[in-house]
């Protein structure tokens, strides 16, 4: 794990990728976009599997030390086949992001259907039983992440609706996780930058003394398709619709073959991170929509770097 000059702020785990379709105990097309959590002394990753039929669902991987993962024999969340959610999940469920709050693991994910992508919330307390709570956005919205504590007494989430063909990150608030409002635009694409086309929340916000650290993805459109990078921003602790500081440069960019080549080329797409006791941040990210990887960095260095723009 040697960090090279001129490469990214986050350094890659040398055995990347940590999960590929080869590691899955059932046939599938690809695996990507997973959210990690420490649970009962184990590392878990709830991640997106794209089945051979083309729609996605979630599986769970487990590891003692967080490097070598074993995947549960069966998927843990499949698109609902009946009930009120079925209609809005008929093309799959995608990109889970876990937030732990008051003993509950909340999972925000994208429900895909003919009506368009919508943000849905589910919860689990034991990673055995998963319970859907509500669809919480209009269609055309993705990349929902829940803050790990209430802000001024309300739940808060970031998400990515599209207005004027611009994909910006918005914040919304709720008393009950079901009815949401008081929405405001927070972070917008920057013309000319690596995040000029679209941006979206990636990792659920991490509380730091300089503000909420949000690791987000930014997309630049090119003649041969999009390039997905990861970047960082600090949001005000009391009013996260205000930006404290935003880093000019990405913290991770597609460079390795496993990030450059896959079903969707040139993608690094984080869905979660773990902060270790020694303040190492381990960011888990999908690469090229084909495998799951990890990259690490010093959290305090990342905060400082973001704070200084």
């Amino acid at each position: 794990m040697v960090r090279k000059i001129g490469r990214d702020f986050l350094y890659r785990y040398e055995e990347n990728p940590i999960l590929t379709a080869e590691d899955i105990p059932f046939r599938c097309n690809t695996v990507f976009n997973g959210s990690p959590v420490k649970y009962e002394g184990e590392y878990l990753i709830l991640f997106r599997v794209e089945g051979l039929q083309g729609y996605s669902f979630f599986a769970l991987a487990r590891s003692r030390k967080g490097f070598f993962y074993k995947v549960d024999e069966k998927p843990v969340m499949l698109p609902a086949k009946k009930g009120k959610f079925a209609k809005y999940e008929e093309r799959g469920i995608e990109d889970p992001r876990i937030t732990f709050m008051d003993g509950v693991y909340y999972i925000l994910f994208t429900a895909a259907s003919a009506f368009g992508p919508m943000i849905e919330i589910a919860k689990t307390e034991d990673f055995k039983k998963y319970e859907r709570i509500a669809l919480v956005s209009s269609p055309g919205n993705k990349d929902g992440v829940l803050f790990p504590e209430k802000i001024k007494g309300k739940y808060a989430r970031l998400d990515r609706p599209i207005g004027n063909d611009i994909g910006s990150i918005w914040i919304s608030y709720s008393d009950d996780l079901i009815y949401w409002g008081h929405s405001k635009a927070v972070i917008t694409p920057r013309p000319g930058y690596w995040d000029s086309y679209r941006i979206g929340a990636s990792v659920p916000p991490i509380k730091t003394d300089k503000g909420w650290l949000e690791i987000y993805h930014g997309v630049r459109m090119t003649a041969s398709g999009p390039i997905y990078h990861a970047g960082s921003v600090l949001l005000d602790l009391e009013d996260p619709s205000k930006i404290v500081a935003r880093c000019d440069e990405p913290i991770l960019s597609p460079r390795e073959n496993y990030e450059r080549i896959g079903d969707v080329n040139n993608v690094v797409f984080a869905c979660g991170a773990i902060v270790e006791e020694d303040r190492t941040i381990k960011v888990y990210y999908g690469s090229a929509d084909t495998s799951i990887c990890m990259a690490m960095g010093d959290l305090d260095e990342l905060i400082e770097r973001t704070y200084n723009g």
């Binding site: 509500a134 055309g140 004027n164 709720s174 009815y179």
Partner: protein, 311 residues
């Protein structure tokens, strides 16, 4: 107003248009649509007028007979300068839809800003003072209309998110936070409403269910054609569609509907149900003038149920 064979279900007033730019007491580009309400015998329209600076705002117009209107000089709702709303309304406000609810008048309108198009909810007691309440959608969402009563204990709102071009319903306990969304009506491939659809007139409660006038858009090689159709939604669960007309009830045919800043458009944001059962549908034509069409409640309900003219 005799109905001609082969024409539309909605009968046009023979003196259409009701309001053109000649009637506006100041210079403007054009006008789009009008929300409407009848209070103490007076007809009140909230017209969207595009001012010469290019930004639309919402103006009051008043009439004793519903035919000849006086338009006010000052906007009733213009782009807000308030810090909470400014960046969402900086490019203009338009398409006010009025709903009478709990002795107040609620208005849902579209706000355009750097982040796209969102719905804003506000209210007034008397159409003198207007109070903005909250941005109630994320972008891009249009065609917002509040139901005139709570349904199973919750407020209900129709809206048209851009993605998918369908009409959705959302519910709320406090009018400020919204959720429990369901899709209500979707575009129909091959039909006149194949491109995208949205609520036109805020739903009217009838014995048959909620009467919904909606607009439907068809894309052609020369642009879009916007028409008006009708549907009946279940009273207690409006996501259930009871009837939906196969054919439109009003299509652009007259010159004033064909030619304007946006050609081939009939588009409504309000109608008045008279005590006699007559429905006065005020509609914008070609983004250029406001027109009046009429039908009756029984006629339109009957039409939605039978739709015999489709073949």
């Amino acid at each position: 107003m005799p109905r001609k064979f082969g024409q539309d279900i909605i009968r046009r007033w023979k003196e259409n248009p009701v309001i053109t730019s000649e009637d506006i007491p100041f210079k403007c580009h054009d006008m789009y649509n009008a929300g409407c309400i009848k209070i103490d015998g007076e007809y009140l329209l909230l017209i969207t007028i595009e001012k010469l600076d290019g930004r639309p705002a919402i103006f009051r117009a008043r009439s004793e007979d519903g035919l000849f209107f006086e338009i006010e000089r000052e906007p009733f709702i213009a782009s807000s300068t308030d810090v909470d709303f400014k960046e969402y309304e900086e490019m203009g406000v338009l398409d006010a839809r009025i709903t009478a609810l709990n002795d107040e008048f609620y208005i849902v309108y579209l706000a355009m800003g750097r982040h796209g198009i969102v719905l804003v909810l506000g209210k007034t007691k008397d159409f003198k003072e207007f109070e903005r309440m909250e941005v109630v959608s994320q972008p891009d969402t249009k065609a917002g209309a509040l139901f005139p009563r709570k349904i199973n204990g919750r407020f209900a709102l129709l809206e048209k998110p851009r993605y998918g071009g369908s009409i959705w319903i959302a519910y709320s306990n406090d009018l400020l936070t919204w959720g429990a969304r369901e899709v209500v009506l979707t575009p129909r491939a091959g039909f006149w409403d194949q491109g995208r659809i949205g609520c036109a007139v805020p739903p009217m409660e009838t014995e048959a269910g909620w009467l919904l006038f909606y607009y439907g858009v068809k894309k052609t090689s020369a642009g879009t054609i916007t028409k008006i159709g009708a549907a009946i939604l279940d009273k207690e669960d409006p996501a259930k569609v009871i009837n939906r007309s196969i054919i439109p009830i009003l299509s652009p045919r007259k010159l004033y509907e064909r030619i304007g800043d946006l050609n081939n458009v009939v588009f409504s944001t309000g109608a008045i149900l008279e005590d006699t059962g007559e429905i006065k549908l005020y509609y914008g034509a070609a983004d250029n003038c406001i027109c009046l069409g009429t039908t009756t409640l029984s006629e339109i309900i009957d039409f939605c149920k039978n739709d015999l003219e489709a073949f």
